[in-house]
């Protein structure tokens, strides 16, 4: 390859940029061979993600995966990140030495739009023409050599998911050359070119800008409708007067100032494609089209969506029980073993009741969480997730949001944190804030252990409609309650606090594809690592502290149940009991709620620890946690502490209450103030209290309290 302007670049920092859905993340994996740290969340790439890249001659470089973007005119927050880094405007990230621009070969026209903007920037560029196999299947042939000549930068054909072209791409990156003042390949109508040229001259004269940035500013001043008002303070009055005249002239000539640059770029792209791309005319419907006729059908689409969700929840509850029982038995035998080999005493109690009981209670739910992530991963990987957003747009528009707000909510079924980060694709700041405020109402995987424990213990195994089991239906109801509340609150916020115009919805629907088992399994693996790490640190820590607080101060000659009541935990529980009594909660549940303010699944470990201590010296101590909870009798009233109604009330409380510090911290980071996280904490807790109260009272009226 020979280029006119040859100057070898020292490649230390490389950035990957490209449209959404162009296979950028797959290419990132193929190039670095490193497991992604942030890829464990299903959903779009929104975080800063870096990996090590070994180039020819064993030189090392850092590869940065930028968020997918359609252009360098940032409209949404994630696109702004990409643009800022590329233009060297980001505070914490240096400007890359080389940019690898990923182009989806089957959608080359639109992808080249971003390339044309990047080519204007004089940064060393390598184009990775990705998914050429998909393009060939669709009858698209690309002449790589011709494309290379037309673009004036190296082009490498790749199939990232099969590892094809990766070495060639690395070689091109290592040999990337600086590009000095090349002629801009695209041109605008003569009049616009003329005025643009004049403005560049004036900008260089008045503001000492270099040619490159002068051209940028000139284009913005000429084409942006608000440019004059926005930049009034930045430019000399003489210059602005000139711009004003230019506008009048172009308007008089009937030139649409806003679209002229985009059209010019597309004109150039058309001529490039005319030379380098041949496409066989196909009028037949593609498989994706046929599938979309069904999956996005106005009636069938919705039916299929609801059916899929029901199937997922049913499966989570039935399939996962087998490995869950195995894990439970495993922990039991470890406990029994410790019980046998260690002498009786505080240390043994601490190990069994403090450490093991708490951790076991939570780890048991790992299979269910894995299943949830398996299904979310499959939805994302097959391309169905975007269709779900599309189907839900009508519903979402009823509450004043659009379909894109549904993806963060769907991600929040896994965890509200990736959910909140996925809101970065929403263009309107108000809609984004509303989505962030309500997404944590959607039931996340941390609530699943709470629901699962209570449902297994208190909801009878009856069948409804012949095929849905009552436990699965209860679980589905909890998930629906969260979703309905999220939508209702969104509607309320859009009507009151954050009024805004009706949302404009536009979204790319990637082609359907068979899911890659590898990437789905990778997500599940990353997620289970995180979950087990939490169990081993936070949950273990809280369990041990709780054990101390529930065991001391020691009182001699009383039963363990009385001892528990006299402990620090018991005293604290009785202190808060008046507040939670109206919800039908006893003091033990109160302790569970307080301990799980940090994160919700701590409720389960807390129950594990408290009940193990309470029943430590009689036969029931060896029963399962569910059994111990069912057997728990209130000493004052002689009635069971837990009824099906209590269980439902606790679940409803957990659906609605903000019991997750990490979510608040992420919201603080995203909104840059404590105002909204505090608001979220306040409104969710109030909502939880009021709704649980109503459910409890109505339940009592209907006679469910026994």
């Amino acid at each position: 390859m020979t280029f006119e302007t040859v100057k070898q670049v020292r490649v230390r920092y490389v950035a990957l940029i490209g449209n959404p859905n162009c296979g950028k993340t797959t290419l990132f994996n193929a190039l670095t061979g490193l497991r992604q740290k942030v890829g464990n969340y299903p959903g779009v790439t929104v975080e800063k993600k870096e990996g090590r890249l070994t180039l020819a001659g064993n030189s090392e470089a850092t590869l940065l995966d930028l968020p997918g973007t359609y252009s360098l005119n940032a409209t949404s927050p994630d696109e702004k990140i990409a643009t800022d880094i590329l233009l060297g405007r980001a505070e914490h990230t240096q400007r890359p030495d080389v940019v690898v621009c990923v182009v989806d070969a089957s959608n080359i026209e639109r992808n080249l739009y971003l390339v044309s903007q990047i080519l204007d920037r004089q940064i060393p560029v390598v184009v990775a023409l990705n998914m050429i196999d998909v393009a060939e299947e669709a009858g698209i042939e690309v002449d790589v050599k011709m494309l290379e000549r037309e673009l004036g930068v190296p082009v490498v054909a790749t199939i990232a998911n099969k590892g094809i072209g990766i070495n060639e791409l690395k070689e091109s990156i290592a040999n990337a050359q600086s590009r000095t003042a090349q002629k801009r390949p695209w041109s605008m109508p003569a009049l616009v070119e003329e005025e643009c040229g004049e403005l560049v001259g004036l900008l260089q004269q008045y503001h000492k800008l270099n040619e490159n940035s002068a051209f940028d500013e000139a284009l913005t001043l000429l084409t942006s409708p608000e440019a004059l008002e926005e930049h009034r303070d930045r430019f000399a009055p003489e210059l602005l007067a000139h711009v004003q005249k230019d506008h009048e002239r172009l308007d008089f000539m009937g030139i649409d100032r806003q679209s002229v640059v985009v059209e010019a770029r597309y004109e150039w792209i058309k001529s490039v494609c005319g030379k380098a791309v041949t496409q066989a005319q196909t009028s037949a419907l593609s498989t994706s089209d046929k599938l979309d006729r069904v999956f996005t059908h106005r009636i069938w689409g919705f039916v299929i969506f609801v059916g899929l969700m029901a199937l997922i929840f049913q499966t989570i509850f039935t399939w996962a029980t087998v490995p869950m029982d195995l894990i439970g038995e495993g922990f039991d035998s470890i406990g029994n073993h410790i019980h046998e080999v260690m002498p009786a005493g505080d240390l043994r109690d601490l190990l069994i009741n403090g450490g093991l009981a708490g951790v076991a209670a939570v780890v048991t739910f790992l299979p269910q969480i894995l299943f949830l992530f398996l299904f979310l991963g499959l939805l994302e990987d097959t391309g169905y997730m975007a269709r779900a957003a599309f189907i839900m747009d009508r519903l979402m528009s009823k509450v004043g949001l659009h379909g894109k707000s549904f993806i963060p909510m769907l991600s929040s079924f896994a965890c509200a944190i990736p959910g909140i980060m996925a809101t970065r694709t929403i263009e309107s700041p108000k809609d984004r804030l509303v989505t962030m405020l309500v997404s944590p109402l959607v039931s996340c995987s941390a609530r699943l252990p709470v629901y699962a424990l209570l449902i297994a213990a208190f909801i009878p195994h009856d069948h409804v409609l012949g095929f849905l089991s009552l436990p699965a239906l209860t679980l589905l109801s909890m998930y629906l309650l969260g979703l309905v509340m999220a939508l209702s609150m969104a509607w309320l916020f859009k009507k009151t606090l954050l009024r805004g115009a009706a949302p404009l919805f536009i979204m790319e629907l990637p082609p359907y594809k068979l899911p890659s088992l590898k990437s789905v399994l990778l997500q599940m693996w990353e997620r289970s690592k995180l979950f087990l790490k939490n169990a081993g640190t936070i949950i273990l820590g809280v369990s041990i502290i709780l054990w101390f607080l529930a065991t001391y101060p020691r009182v001699e000659g009383v039963t363990p149940a009385e001892q528990l009541q006299h402990s620090f935990v018991g005293k604290a529980g009785q202190l808060i009991e008046p507040v939670i009594k109206p919800l039908g909660f006893d003091w033990k549940i109160g302790i569970g709620i307080i301990a799980s303010l940090l994160q919700r699944e701590v409720f389960v470990s807390t129950m594990g620890t408290i009940y193990n201590i309470q029943n430590s010296d009689d036969e029931s101590g060896s029963l399962s946690l569910q059994q111990q909870m069912r057997n728990d009798i209130d000493p004052e009233t002689g009635l069971p502490v837990w009824t099906a109604l209590t269980a439902i009330c606790v679940m409803v409380y957990y659906v609605l209450a903000m019991q997750c510090m990490s979510t608040l911290a992420v919201l603080k980071r995203e909104t840059n103030s404590w105002k909204w996280p505090l608001f979220q904490l306040g409104y969710m807790t109030a909502l939880a209290y009021v709704v649980t109260f109503v459910v409890y009272r109505v339940g009592l009226l209907w006679g469910f309290g026994v």
Binding site: Y70, S71, N73, T75, S106, N107, E109, R110, Y113, A138, I140, S224, P225, E226, D256, Q258, S259, V262, E263, Y266, S288, D289, D292, R293, T296, H297, R298, G301, A386, A389, F390, I391, D393, R394, S397, H402, G403, E427, A502, P503, L504, F505, I506, M507, E508, L509, P510, P511
Partner: protein, 79 residues
Amino acid sequence: MHHNSHLSLTDVPMGQRVRIRQLNSQPDFCMRLREMGFCENAVVRCVSKGSGTIICEVCNTRIGLNQLVASSIVVSSFE
């Protein structure tokens, strides 16, 4: 459809190819439409219509739009 008659994208029957004439929306949203391929003179095919939503094919990609967006895109018959 009459030759050169101007319609909005909402009026286009399923399967029909049309040419984009004009975008009537807020300036920055028009910009976004253009970047996603809905540029003046681009050819669009209506793939399917849901309730209040439309799927179009432009530049070999399927894009979902809602009624509000589709009604702001002025098109004319192609060919």
